[in-house]
């Protein structure tokens, strides 16, 4: 829980502690394989941990729809673990695609075990969650998570094609983050709702909550890649800049910049010609154009939509904690 202690999520984690304990056990159990290298790599992943925000959303959604703590706890945990597996498999492949060296404050799996192992273990995890969902047997949940997985892959490909391209529109950028992040947040919540026997209205509300939370979360992520403190972020600050990723802060700084700004961005992002000091330079230009502020304001818009989506639920401690998760997603430092 140490990673959560630093965030505003600890209260939600505390509320869900019993469920999360079961879920973590399921994650460790189901990641296991008789092939030693797979076990070694997943041990590395489990050690690195992470916030486990997505499975928490699944558990919270099921509980919010009326599941008592003891009602179907193992099943809830299995589905939450499946959601985390989609996320983990995606991270493994992302880190290969992005050539990242650091993830969650530790050396990334590809840095330790190589690209090949990361690709294949990502595939293994994806196949494994597909087995788990088959055993669970709910076609509804399968539909939600398979649709999310396809949209996720499409979002990642779309992101790849907008890389280094400053003619990317803000709409295209929003489509990318919808696919690569918001879709899985939405699916995590909706799958939880289905497990919790939600009404159609509750299910749609929780999907909307997850989707808007995910949009806010990713916008803040893209801002943090420029303004976070390295040792708090848990990955390398400036990664997006170095990779020429076209995120909202960049698009705004480019759009609002003067000729000199535009020349700088084209050289650094489109041509990938970066010199020592260019990251600090980029940050200065973002502050001058209020690119970070505008990005965070957009995140706040989505956060507000996420809060509104919860209106149909009566007051409860858990609902309050889901509001706080929204606050966390826009105010977090890592």
């Amino acid at each position: 829980m140490s990673k959560l202690g630093e965030t505003g999520l600890w209260e939600l984690a505390d509320y869900l502690a019993s469920d999360m304990q079961v879920c973590n056990r399921v994650i460790i159990d189901r990641m296991r394989s008789s092939v030693p290298l797979i076990s070694q790599l997943v041990t590395h992943l489990v050690t690195a941990g992470g916030k486990r925000l997505r499975p928490m959303l699944t558990l919270a959604a099921a509980r919010l729809c009326g599941h008592a703590l003891s009602e179907g706890q193992l099943r809830r945990a299995e589905i939450a673990a499946c959601v985390e597996f989609i996320h983990t498999a995606t991270l493994l492949h992302d880190d290969v695609v992005d050539e990242s060296r650091v993830r969650r404050g530790l050396a990334s799996a590809n840095a330790v075990f190589g690209n090949k192992a990361s690709i294949l273990v990502g595939d293994f995890l994806f196949a494994r969650l597909f087995q788990m969902l088959t055993i669970d047997g709910s076609l509804d949940v399968m539909m939600i998570l398979s649709d999310a997985s396809a949209a996720l892959a499409e979002g990642e490909v779309m992101q790849m094609t907008t890389q280094n391209d400053l003619s990317t529109s803000i709409d295209q950028y929003l489509q990318v983050i919808q696919g690569k992040t918001a879709v899985l947040f939405a699916a995590a919540c909706e799958a939880g709702a289905v497990v919790g026997d939600a009404s159609a209205e509750q299910r749609a509300a929780l999907r909307a909550y997850g989707n808007n939370l995910g949009m806010a979360f990713q916008l803040v992520d893209d801002a943090l890649d420029y303004v976070a403190e390295q040792d708090v972020l848990g990955k390398e600050i400036g990664d997006d800049f170095r990779e020429g990723k076209v995120t909202l802060p960049v698009l705004i700084a480019y759009e609002r910049g003067n000729n000199e700004d535009r020349l700088f961005w084209r050289k650094a992002i489109e041509n990938g010609q970066q010199e020592e000091g260019d990251f600090a330079n980029a940050l200065q230009r973002m502050l001058a154009t209020k690119a970070i502020e505008v990005t965070l304001a957009r995140a706040e818009d989505y956060a507000e939509k996420a809060r509104k989506a919860l209106q149909i639920f009566p007051y409860s401690v858990l609902k309050d904690l889901l509001y706080k998760a929204v606050d966390y997603s826009v105010k977090r430092q890592n």
Copy 2:
């Protein structure tokens, strides 16, 4: 069909022509995405084609169990397409892992579109077939194909860890090819049997047929990587050797070789020190130790088991063609 014309599979393909036409249409339809790069890459894959042996097995198994041509043709084709998608996604990731430049006689997808696109489109195809299976709704078929996918990933990881390792035992090698090849052949046949409403006995027989056919197929593949003619093989001859893959021909040549042979193999396979002419040198040492012959004899053993598995079925033209598919798998040149 041109690729099949060269092989002994053309009769089976001919028998299944109507089914395969529907299946190919399903493959093209379902591979589609609104993301342009995905469509471009899958068009490249569809153009490259391939033998489509695995989906043919699914279709043949369903028909052998009594499905009439018109009975559930679309469903049969959908499941066969899912089997091909697992294979295609695996090839995409394999080519990245192996850094292959040629596949099915064309530049490999990673050579044309880059590793990133190949990884992500592989993920997309896997998610897509998971969607298709969910729509189909058979938990039996899902179980067969998700189990196969997990075993496949495990087989690939195992192969990776035996790479460059001449202390790999023949049993370990057989476990690797079971996972990376035979499991999907077995699943292709078993899924077809389920679609064709097979009895438990028929289902088990077809699974055994597929498994043994797959073992024979891969053993021959591993031999062909040394003795095939480049322009017939459709991929680069000697790939396994250059990558230091420890296949049965290598294990036998090493085991039966004299001291000088062993020094050669250790240098070339374990240390990866290869000079011009080493591939021809390797081939000479294989011929001297009868390593290719022994490998092909092993393949024939599995082929015989595959034939025996079909005994429970009464005579039919299709059964005869499945025998011919076994003959093809051990006698093929590519």
